[in-house]
Every structure is written in structure tokens, then in C-alpha cells.
């Protein structure tokens, strides 16, 4: 419990310093409003932030021992810091680039963009490029079994690595770097297709229900209520159980069933939103006018309602994509999602997860499962940042 006592001591010392800091500020600046009205909590916050920063810098420059637990911690901390600053600098440069290049519209867009959103856009572009050109980027095929298995990442022959496989190979000798790249194609591609399908089904049904109303609306809404009563992941697992039997009998790939199942589950959420948005639009005069002109149902949905409902639906698309992506990754992680030999990040995490126990002795080895999981996390965080920014912009919130 010594670290607990240390923590308490540090907190008490911080509090004392904070009090002194505020007092000194008051004396030195002859009671400027900033210091006069500063509550103790704010002063504590400032000092605590400084303490954390100083601690982090000291930890970062701590010398690394040859072996041992402490050293591995420092190594991981340095990697995290490098990754964080690297992405921050890349996002900053990207935003600078966007501000000076392109049409007036995109320049204006980039000028109002916070750094987090720039980071999100950058990451999404990188993922899109990687997943589209996966075949030509990856050095090896995704199912190709190569010479050596269990090659350590890092490419250092002394540590058991191999310069030809910069991220090492897995248990049966497949190149992890290539599988990561193909994983982008498979996982992201399937998630994208699923989300599009869910939006097509949920969106058109939702708009249809809001236009027609009456018994159709009642029927669809109650059906959606029933489907939404069961938590999404549980329901998906349940249906995948059935689908696995059917896919054996019918000879259809299980992945197709998974796309259909997740699209169905997620289309209920899309339905709710598009029905709510649609009902606000249907009462407008221009819909009345279009109805009186004798336009068909398809025209009403796609030409009149859809353009007016675009903003909330786009934001929902981003969020939905995240959920679908996470659901697919979780299903694969549990072993019922995308099936091997297709490379997929969820399955990779599961397969490589044992390596994490070697982290204390060889930090390189433990990166393999974290890279795949980190790839998933990076994309969802990026999409969330962009959606957050879009919502903030469209709601016009200044607070």
C-alpha cells in the first residue's frame, strides 16, 4: 500500500503548493481579479496539472535499464508519447495543408476545424486509401503462410526478428503487417457495406412510415419495438447461432449472414431516427404541394424528404458506422464473426492476445495484439471526433 500513501502525500503537498501559489499571486499582482476570485479548487487544478506534466517528463527521460519491469513501462510510455505527438503534428500539418490548398469552400471548412476533427479526417482518409489499395500495398497475401512462424516484431535479428517482416509473423507464419492491411479492407469494407444496407432499409421504411402513417406506421413501429427490446450484441450472437447452421446447410458464406443480421438490427435504430425526422418534414407545405401534384411515393421519399433530412442522417451514419464496426469486431473477437482465413482485426486480437503477457520482458512482442486492437480504436475515435465536430457545427452551439 506504499503507493497509496505516496499518492495521498503528493495530493496534500499539491494542495499546500496551490494555496501558496494563489496567495503569492494575490500579493505579487496586488489583488488582480484573476487571483482574487480564484477558488481553491481552480488553483489546485493548475498546480496538479503542472505536477502531472513534470512527472510525465521525468518519467519520459528516465534511463532504461537492461532488463526488468520498470524499463518496459518506460518504453511503452515513450511509444504512447511518440504516437500522440506524431498524430498531433500530422493533424496540424494536414490542417495547414487544407487551409492553403483547394477551393475556397474547402479552405473555409479547414479554417473552422478544430485539431481533433482534422485528426479524424486525416485518419479516415488514410484508412480509405489503405483499404482500397490493400492488394498493392501489402507485401504478402493475407492467407500466405510464410517460412518462419512466431517472428518477433521490430525487425531486429538479435531479438528474434526478421527485417523482411517488420511486424513479425503469427503462430502459423503469416505476415502480421500484411494481415493488418488486408484487415482494413475486410473489416472496414464489411462494416461500411453493412451500414449502407442498414441505412437503406431503415431509412426508406422510416420515411415510408412517416408518409403513410396509420396501420403501416403502427405495424412497423411495434415490430421495431420488439426487436429493440433485446440488446444488440446479444441478439446478434443469438442470430449468428442460427445462421451458422443455415450456412452449413445452404452453403452460403457466414459473413453474408452476419452482414444481413447486423444490418437488420441496426436498421431498427435508423428507422426510429428517420421516422422522427420524417414526421417533422411531412407536415410541411411543400410535401403537401408535391402530393397534390400527384408525385409517387419514391419521388416523395428521395427527392423531397431525403435532402431535408440529410444533416441528422449523416451524423447518425457516422455513429452507426462506429457501432456496426465495433459489433463486427466484437463478434469476430468472440469467434462467430468474420471467419478465417480472411484477415480481420477482431480475430487477430483474439489469436495474438497471449503475447501481452510477455510485455514486461520484451515490449516488442506485446505490440502485436495491441496494434490490431489499436487500429480498430483509432478509426472509431476518428469517426467520433468528426461526427462530434459536425454536430457542433450544425447545431450552432457556441457554449
Amino acid at each position: 500500500m506504499s503507493w497509496g500513501i505516496n499518492l495521498i502525500l503528493i495530493l496534500i503537498a499539491t494542495g499546500a503548493v496551490a494555496w501558496g501559489f494563489r496567495y503569492a499571486g494575490q500579493q505579487l499582482t496586488s489583488n488582480k481579479p484573476l487571483y482574487r476570485d480564484m477558488s481553491f479548487a481552480v488553483a489546485f487544478g493548475y498546480v496538479f496539472g503542472v505536477v502531472i506534466c513534470v512527472g510525465a517528463i521525468l518519467y519520459y527521460f528516465q534511463p532504461i535499464d537492461k532488463k526488468g519491469v520498470q524499463a518496459a513501462g518506460v518504453v511503452f510510455f515513450r511509444w504512447a508519447v511518440h504516437g500522440f505527438t506524431g498524430f498531433a503534428i500530422a493533424a496540424y500539418l494536414f490542417r495547414l495543408f487544407g487551409r492553403s490548398v483547394g477551393t475556397t469552400v474547402t479552405r473555409k471548412l479547414f479554417r473552422s476545424m478544430p485539431l481533433t476533427a482534422a485528426f479524424g479526417v486525416l485518419v479516415i482518409i488514410i484508412y480509405a486509401v489503405v483499404s482500397i489499395f490493400a492488394g498493392s500495398i501489402a507485401p504478402y497475401g493475407q492467407e500466405e503462410v510464410l517460412a518462419g512462424s512466431n517472428i518477433v516484431p521490430g525487425g531486429n535479428p538479435l531479438m528474434g526478428g526478421d527485417p523482411e517482416f517488420p511486424l513479425g509473423t503469427d503462430q502459423i507464419g503469416r505476415d502480421i503487417f500484411s494481415r493488418l492491411i488486408f484487415g482494413a479492407q475486410n473489416t472496414v469494407g464489411i462494416a461500411f457495406a453493412t451500414t449502407c444496407l442498414a441505412f437503406f432499409v431503415g431509412g426508406s421504411l422510416g420515411f415510408l412510415a412517416s408518409i403513410v402513417g396509420g396501420w403501416l406506421d403502427q405495424l412497423l413501429s411495434r415490430a421495431v419495438d420488439v426487436l429493440m427490446a433485446i440488446p444488440a450484441l446479444i441478439f446478434a450472437l443469438l442470430l449468428m447461432t442460427i445462421a451458422s447452421v443455415w450456412s452449413n446447410q445452404l452453403g452460403i458464406d457466414r459473413t453474408i449472414f452476419m452482414i444481413l443480421i447486423i444490418a437488420m438490427i441496426d436498421s431498427t435504430r435508423v428507422y426510429r431516427l428517420s421516422r422522427a425526422v420524417g414526421q417533422n418534414i411531412v407536415v410541411m407545405d411543400y410535401i403537401e404541394a408535391a402530393k397534390l401534384r400527384g408525385e409517387g411515393m419514391a419521388y416523395l421519399i428521395f427527392k423531397e424528404i431525403l435532402p431535408n433530412a440529410m444533416a441528422p442522417l449523416l451524423a447518425e451514419f457516422g455513429l452507426r458506422f462506429c457501432f456496426v464496426f465495433l459489433t463486427i469486431a466484437s463478434l469476430s473477437f468472440l469467434g462467430v464473426g468474420i471467419q478465417p482465413p480472411l484477415a480481420d482485426w477482431g480475430t487477430m486480437v483474439k489469436d495474438l492476445s497471449q503475447f501481452i503477457n510477455f510485455a514486461a520482458f520484451a515490449p516488442n512482442v506485446a505490440t502485436a495484439p495491441l496494434l490490431a486492437a489499436g487500429a480498430i480504436a483509432l478509426l472509431t475515435v476518428a469517426v467520433n471526433f468528426v461526427v462530434d465536430w459536425m454536430l457542433h457545427k450544425s447545431s450552432g452551439l457556441k457554449e
Partner: protein, 308 residues
């Protein structure tokens, strides 16, 4: 309740799964007859519903002894209810520990973020929670294992809890999964608290309180928080429902003997009674907590409590 129908309309041939590829047609029909799988869905559904209402969840297929006597040996069988019960208690324990950690943290963070909104603190908390909510659970779980179990051995990375363990030991082992779940649910609750309080700050009575010269902390705690309670309680209940149902992945990562683990295992071997029972429990917990959220938000709002 229409949900039962949705849960129950399960085809899925356990008989073929257990006998494998080389099964003869006679053996398959024999096992099907034993398990009552040859009856049509409708009668099976009615029978199951009747049993559930009397508290009998059936017998796990996997527990039946198919090699000798085709399930005739009823004495050694373990019912689904007995199989689920300890696991259900374990999951509730995990959810309880998580709720005890997550709810105070998220409300305090939310209030602080609303108090110092748009400051550096607010932004840091926002970005951190947004990242933690949008990463997959197993990523957070492995990061926590890496930090707290492998690099700094504070907690064990496998939480094999069993009945009759001392409470301290049990807590120690449950800590990592609970922390993972905390990270997952805190973000939502904290953002909701912050948004609800900030929404209220524009109302006239807050202006009035401020003009009276009350300190910002007191304004928020006494005047804003009680009125923001309804949405906060709602989101807490939703997240508790998530805790009970969304534990599947976390339980698998930490090999925690909860109901989620049982569910995944049963899904893999197509043990339909167990899958059904688990689904039923999950759905029931989900619906109950949602119902509770509605009731609590009515209770917390005097205007709804005394309708004119």
C-alpha cells in the same frame, strides 16, 4: 410479451451439431425425439413458456448424457436454472462494483466539466472520455491488463471468482473487469450530466441565483443539479442495463465466470435451452431497468408526480 416469441423462434439443429458429419439419419431422429425437437415450433414454444412461468428453465442439452441411454439418466442432470444462478450472481456482483465506481466518478466529472466549461480541463476530460467510449472493449481491457497486471502487477489479469471467496480477494480479482466497464460507461453518463446542466444554466432562475451572489459551485449543486436529475437518472439506468448485457466481451477477456461467458460458450455449441434462458434474462434486465428509469424520472420531477 412479444419478445418471448422473438427469442424462441429458434431453429438450429443441435442434434446434427453433436453427432458431427458422419451421423446416420436414425441417430439424428432418435436424439431429436428425445429432446422434443421433432414437435413443431408452436407446441414447443407453448410448453417452454409454461415452464418458464413456473420457474423451470429446462435442462441444458450439453448436460445430457447422449452416449448412454440417450438422456435417460435424469438423476445427474443439472437444470439450466441451477447452472445459471451462480453465474448470474457473479455478473450482478461485477455490475454492482462497476456501478459503485462509475456513477460517482461520472457525475463528479460531469459537474466539474459543466462548472469549468470550455476550459482546458473540460476539453481534456471530453477528449479522454470520447476516446474511451469509442474504442472497443477488448482494446481497453488489454491496455488495462498491460498497465495494471503485467507492467505493474497490482491486480491479477484473470479474474476467476468462485463462491465462498473472501470479499477482499473477490474485489481484488473483479477490479480489472470492473475498471474496464467503468471506462466504457463513464463517458456517456458524464457527457449527459454536463449537457443537462449546461442546458439549464440559461434558465432565468439560474440567472437569479447568480445575481444573488451565490458561488458557482452552489448554483450548480443546489439549483441546476436537482432539475437536471431526470435525464441523468435516465442515462444511468440505460448504462446499468448496458452493464448487465454488455459484459459479454469483457467477461470473455478476463475469463470471468459470469453469465456472458456462459452465453458465448452455449452459442458456440448451440445449447439452445441455455441460450434461450440467457437471452431471456438479458432482455428482462434490459426492460426492467428501462422501466425503472421511467419511474425514477417521474419520481424525481414534482411536476410529473402531481399531475393536474
Amino acid at each position: 410479451m412479444v419478445i418471448f416469441a422473438a427469442v424462441n423462434a429458434l431453429p438450429g439443429d443441435f442434434a446434427q451439431a453433436i453427432l458431427g458429419q458422419g451421423a446416420t439419419q436414425e441417430a439424428v431422429t432418435q436424439i431429436r425425439a428425445d429432446l422434443g425437437l421433432d414437435q413443431n415450433y408452436f407446441s414447443r414454444y407453448l410448453g417452454w413458456l409454461g415452464n418458464v412461468l413456473t420457474g423451470d428453465l429446462g435442462i441444458s442439452f450439453a448436460q445430457m448424457n447422449f452416449a448412454t441411454g440417450m438422456g435417460g439418466d435424469q438423476v445427474s442432470l443439472v437444470g439450466v436454472a441451477e447452472q445459471i444462478e451462480p453465474r448470474f450472481r457473479a455478473t450482478m456482483f461485477l455490475a454492482g462494483v462497476t456501478a459503485l465506481i462509475a456513477v460517482p466518478i461520472s457525475i463528479i466529472l460531469g459537474v466539474l466539466a459543466a462548472l469549468y466549461r470550455n476550459s482546458l480541463f473540460d476539453r481534456v476530460v471530453n477528449i479522454t472520455t470520447l476516446s474511451s467510449i469509442s474504442s472497443p472493449e477488448f482494446f481497453l481491457a488489454y491496455i488495462l491488463i498491460l498497465l495494471l497486471a503485467v507492467l505493474n502487477p497490482i491486480f491479477p489479469s484473470l479474474s476467476n471468482v468462485y463462491e465462498g471467496m473472501a470479499l477482499g480477494e473477490k474485489l481484488n480479482r473483479t477490479m480489472l473487469p470492473a475498471l474496464t466497464l467503468t471506462l466504457v460507461v463513464t463517458a456517456h453518463m458524464m457527457r449527459m450530466t454536463r449537457a443537462a446542466i449546461i442546458n439549464l444554466l440559461a434558465s432565468p432562475y439560474i440567472e437569479m441565483a447568480r445575481l444573488k451572489g451565490i458561488s458557482p459551485v452552489r448554483v450548480i449543486l443546489r439549483h441546476a443539479l436537482p432539475n437536471a436529475l431526470a435525464p441523468i437518472i435516465n442515462v444511468i439506468a440505460l448504462n446499468l442495463a448496458y452493464l448487465i448485457t454488455g459484459v459479454v466481451v469483457v467477461e470473455v477477456v478476463f475469463v470471468y465466470p459470469g453469465i456472458g461467458q456462459l452465453f458465448v460458450d452455449s452459442v458456440k455449441i448451440r445449447d439452445i435451452p441455455v441460450v434461450q434462458a440467457c437471452c431471456l434474462i438479458f432482455a428482462a434486465a434490459y426492460i426492467l431497468l428501462n422501466l425503472m428509469a421511467d419511474i425514477l424520472s417521474i419520481l424525481s420531477n414534482p411536476r410529473l408526480r402531481h399531475p393536474k
